[in-house]
C-alpha cells in the first residue's frame, strides 16, 4: 500500500483562523484516515487505533488555538498521533502478558482477535518482521515505506536529524529482509 504524502493545506490553516469549528471539521475529514493507518500499523489492534485516533484529534483540538505555523499542520498531527500510539503501546506493555512482537499470538491474546486483519502469508511475514524492529526504527520504516513521508517532514515529526533517519530506515530495511529470508 502506497499512500500519497499529504502536503500542508493552506485552506485548512486559513479556515482555522476564521472559523475554528469548520476548520477543525475539515482537518478531521482530511487527516483521520491517514492518521488512523499510521496509528494502526503501530498499535496493530483496531480498537486501540480507534482510541488513539480519537485522543489524537481531541488533543489537537485542545491546543489548536495555540497552533500558529501554517506549514507544519501535517507534521504536527503526525507527532501527536505517534505520541498517542506510543503511549498506548507502553500502557499495553505494562498490563498485558503478551508483547507486540508476533502478530498471531498478539491477536490471540486480544479480545478483538484477528477479525480486522486479512493479510496473506507474505503480509503476515512482513508485519511480523516490522514488529521485531526497535520502536524508533519501526516508526521510521512505517512512515517512509507506507506513508512515503519525506525525511524533512519525518525529522519534524520525530525531532531527529534527516541523516539519522536515513540511516535508521536503511538498517530497518536490511533487518526486515534478513528476517523474511530466514523464515
Amino acid at each position: 500500500m502506497k499512500l500519497n504524502t499529504i502536503r500542508p493545506d493552506d485552506n485548512i490553516s486559513e479556515l482555522l483562523k476564521t472559523d475554528l469549528n469548520k476548520g477543525f471539521q475539515l482537518l478531521v475529514e482530511k487527516y483521520s484516515q491517514k492518521l488512523y493507518w499510521h496509528i494502526r500499523r503501530l498499535v496493530i489492534l483496531h480498537e486501540d487505533a480507534d482510541d488513539a485516533l480519537q485522543n489524537t484529534f481531541i488533543n489537537a483540538w485542545k491546543s489548536i488555538g495555540n497552533f500558529r505555523s501554517e506549514s507544519s499542520l501535517y507534521t504536527w498531527l503526525y507527532t501527536i498521533a505517534t505520541n498517542e500510539a506510543l503511549a498506548l503501546i507502553n500502557k499495553r506493555k505494562r498490563n498485558a502478558a503478551v508483547s507486540i512482537d508476533d502478530l498471531e499470538s498478539y491477536f490471540a491474546s486480544s479480545h478483538e482477535g484477528s477479525i480486522w486483519f486479512d493479510g496473506d502469508e507474505a503480509q503476515l511475514k512482513l508485519q511480523n518482521a516490522i514488529l521485531q524492529l526497535p520502536e524508533k526504527q519501526r516508526i521510521v520504516f512505517n512512515l517512509k515505506y507506507f506513508d512515503e513521508m519525506t525525511y524533512n517532514d519525518m525529522s519534524k515529526v520525530l525531532k531527529t536529524s534527516e541523516g539519522a533517519l536515513k540511516a535508521s530506515y536503511h538498517h530497518a530495511v536490511k533487518k526486515i529482509e534478513k528476517i523474511i529470508l530466514s523464515d
Binding site: M1, F24, I180
Partner: protein, 141 residues
C-alpha cells in the same frame, strides 16, 4: 523465496468496520464541540500564565513586606489613627446618628445667637469624664 521488500505485494492487510471513518469523524467532532469552553479557559490561562505568576509573586511580596513592617513597628497609644478608627468602628454610637439631621442641628446652633446655658461645673465634669488632664482644664478655663 522472497528476500526483498519490493517482492511483497503492496496491500493493506488491516481492515476496519464498514463506515468506520464516517462514524469516527462524527464522534470526534461531537466530542470536540463539547469541550470548547473548557479549552478556552485553559488556553487563556496558559497564554497569560507567566503574567499571572509574576503578578501573584509581586502581590505576595508586598503583603509579606507590609505585614512584617506592621508587626515590627511599635504601636502608638492615643495616636490620631486609632481615634479615627475608634470613631468609625461598627460599635461606635456615631453610626446610629442620621448625618442629615446632625447637619441641620449643627447649622441651627452655628447660626443661632443663643448659647446654651451650661455651668462651669458641668463643663469640668464633662471634660474629666473625657479623661482630659485637670491641669489643661484649668488652663483653658
Amino acid at each position: 523465496m522472497m528476500n526483498k521488500l519490493n517482492e511483497i505485494p503492496e496491500k493493506n492487510p488491516f481492515k476496519v468496520p464498514d463506515n468506520y471513518f464516517e462514524e469516527v469523524n462524527r464522534k470526534i467532532i461531537t466530542a470536540a464541540s463539547g469541550i470548547d469552553r473548557e479549552v478556552l479557559k485553559v488556553s487563556v490561562y496558559n497564554r497569560f500564565k507567566t503574567s499571572f505568576l509574576i503578578a501573584a509573586s509581586v502581590a505576595g511580596l508586598i503583603l509579606i513586606t507590609y505585614t512584617t513592617i506592621k508587626l515590627l513597628s511599635p504601636v502608638k497609644v492615643n495616636s490620631p489613627v486609632s481615634e479615627v478608627l475608634h470613631e468609625i468602628s461598627p460599635d461606635s454610637y456615631l453610626n446610629d446618628i442620621d448625618l442629615s439631621s446632625l447637619e441641620e442641628n449643627a447649622s441651627s446652633l452655628v447660626l443661632s445667637e443663643e448659647v446654651p446655658d451650661v455651668s462651669k461645673k458641668d463643663i469640668i465634669d464633662y471634660l474629666l469624664n473625657e479623661n482630659v488632664e485637670i491641669n489643661d482644664i484649668y488652663a483653658q478655663l
